[in-house]
């Protein structure tokens, strides 16, 4: 399963924290590293369609500036010279932003989104905008305007969505880290389906300023990378107060990397892990549930106390979250839809029109459900340090089916386990926990293997605990070193 290598694969798959260390030590040059990343992206993107555009000349110029700062002993920050990319739903000053739409939503962004500005202020070199589901409103990234993003583990399968370009670029070793957005699983689903790590932080932990909205009360910005330590580094850079986003918390940002639990046989001794009964496992395909339970056993072997917990109202969070999403997205797009409905792809247009049929009384009932579900989850999180579930009930599906428009039931199913934590704003992380054969749930008929993700959910603003437990689990499970055949 470990793929052979294209040229430069060893360098391409180094962890972000390791390339950052080598750059800071002068062992690597930003100019050489960025050139290698551009070469790899230009070679593989025609097959993957992870990037909407590779901005090679701009990246080279930024890399030269980065090299000069390092030579002068004045690095901007912990990402100095590191090639990254962001989903094409973030403002990048002076550049277009498509949000996955037929035409750019913004021809020249007035400024950087806050999260983008913080990456660049830390020295990152952005390679170009990454592909996504149209307007981030879908889970396949089968984009009718820019073409489908392909899953590096099986090119005829989708990478999940809506941050599918971010997941695919990471799995293919095109970038060392990426940003995504998550309204109903759009960071965690592609992370799970592409075999990388994705974190939806607590609502309010990362500013959403300069990000095209999908649903205001569900939208989150978060980091994606190939390792937990890389995600911890990125979160520390992008998190924090922002007066331009009224929901951004003023809470100080901890040192997330310091919270990572070192690998070891008793690494999780004393930690309490809650495993919800019912819904989160009953709705998963048997092989996915088996892999998730196997990963939980590994956490137990590391010393964690695994405890069955009950979240009887979590299932109601799925329809409640959908109603909130439908209504808020319809409001976000009301003017554009009225003026230019034909510019939308069929699936997104149908969802937006469906949203216009949600009554105010239904929207408020969903918001009341939000309060009820959050109360229940907070009670359970008083007894355990985190909850653990599968990230998705199924692995990635074929692009042909996705391009035809995933049935509403399929779309709902893929978001079942993720959506409750958008409604409640709790931090949630997806960690690779195994592989299943492509094709059928039992894997007949294909040589390709598809990744499966484990979801860890924590208390509000306690991303440090999630990252710590995930780091120990990652070391024990050993999937971070796997690479797709490309």
């Amino acid at each position: 399963m470990t793929g052979p290598a294209s040229t430069g694969a060893e360098l391409a798959y180094l962890p972000l924290v390791e390339v950052a260390r080598r750059l800071a030590a002068g062992v690597l040059s930003p100019v050489d590293l960025v050139e290698a990343a551009i070469n790899r992206a230009e070679a593989l993107n025609p097959r993957l369609n992870a990037f909407i555009t590779i901005e090679a000349d701009r990246a080279r110029a930024v890399a030269r500036e980065s090299a000069a700062r390092l030579r002068a002993g004045r690095p901007r920050g912990p990402l100095e010279g590191v090639p990254l990319a962001v989903k094409d739903i973030f403002w990048r000053a002076g550049r277009p932003m498509t949000a996955g739409a037929r035409r750019p939503v913004v021809e020249a962004a007035p400024e950087d989104a806050t999260a983008v500005a913080r990456l660049e202020a830390a020295g990152a070199v952005l390679l170009g905008p990454l592909g996504l589901h149209e307007f981030a409103y879908g889970i396949t990234s089968a984009n009718p305007h820019h073409g489908p993003v392909r899953n590096p583990w099986a090119l005829d399968h989708h990478p999940g969505g809506s941050s599918g370009g971010s997941g695919a670029a990471l799995a293919a070793g095109l970038v060392y880290g990426a940003l995504g957005t998550d309204t109903g699983g759009s960071i965690r689903i592609p992370a799970a389906l592409c075999g990388v790590v994705g974190l939806k932080p607590t609502y309010g932990r990362v500013s959403r300023h300069g990000v095209y909205p999908l649903a205001w009360s569900l939208d989150h910005v978060g980091p994606m990378a190939r390792t937990v330590a890389d995600v911890a580094l990125l979160l520390g850079v992008i998190a924090g107060p922002d007066p331009r986003d009224p929901t951004a918390s003023r809470r100080p940002v901890p040192d997330y990397r310091a919270a990572l639990v070192p690998a070891g046989s008793a690494a999780l001794k004393g930690w309490r892990v809650g495993v919800p009964d019912g819904f989160f496992f009953d709705r998963a395909e048997p092989e996915v549930a088996r892999l998730a339970r196997g990963a939980i056993e590994r956490l137990e072997q590391l010393g964690a106390v695994v405890k069955a917990v009950s979240l009887p109202r979590a299932e109601a969070a799925v329809p409640a979250g959908l109603l909130v999403l439908l209504a808020e997205a319809a409001s976000v797009h009301a003017v554009r839809l009225a003026a230019d409905a034909a510019s939308y792809g069929a699936d997104v247009r149908a969802r937006l029109e469906q949203g216009r049929l949600v009554l105010a009384v239904d929207y408020l009932a969903a918001q009341r459900t939000r309060a009820l579900v959050r109360r229940e989850m907070m009670e359970v999180l008083g007894e355990v340090d985190c909850l653990v579930t599968p990230t998705t009930p199924v692995p990635a599906g074929p692009i042909d089916e996705a391009a035809a428009g995933p049935g509403d039931l399929a779309r709902r199913a893929m978001t079942h386990f993720a959506r409750p934590f958008n409604l409640t704003g709790l931090p949630a992380l997806s960690l690779p926990c195994g592989f299943v054969r492509a094709g059928t749930p039992e894997g007949a008929g294909s040589d390709a293997y598809l990744p499966v993700g484990l979801q860890l959910i924590g208390r509000p603003f306690d991303e440090a605990t999630l990252l710590g437990i995930a780091a120990a689990g990652e070391a024990a499970l050993g999937f971070a070193a796997r690479r797709p055949m490309l």
Partner: protein, 69 residues
Amino acid sequence: MPDRSLDATATAALLALLGRPMEAAERDRLRAALEQIRDDVRVIAALDLDGVEPEARPLVDPIDDGDGR
């Protein structure tokens, strides 16, 4: 099985919200979408929401509460 039917008048009134002519097939698709919404609402309606007020945001950090934001 739950009753998924919608009163015809209510259906027509809601679909009229879209404010444009529709082919029969599209009308059927939207009616199905509407029924899906009603199914979701029924799930929520089964909860005891008595005394529960709506929350416009997932959460407000206690650090930020009370400063007017």
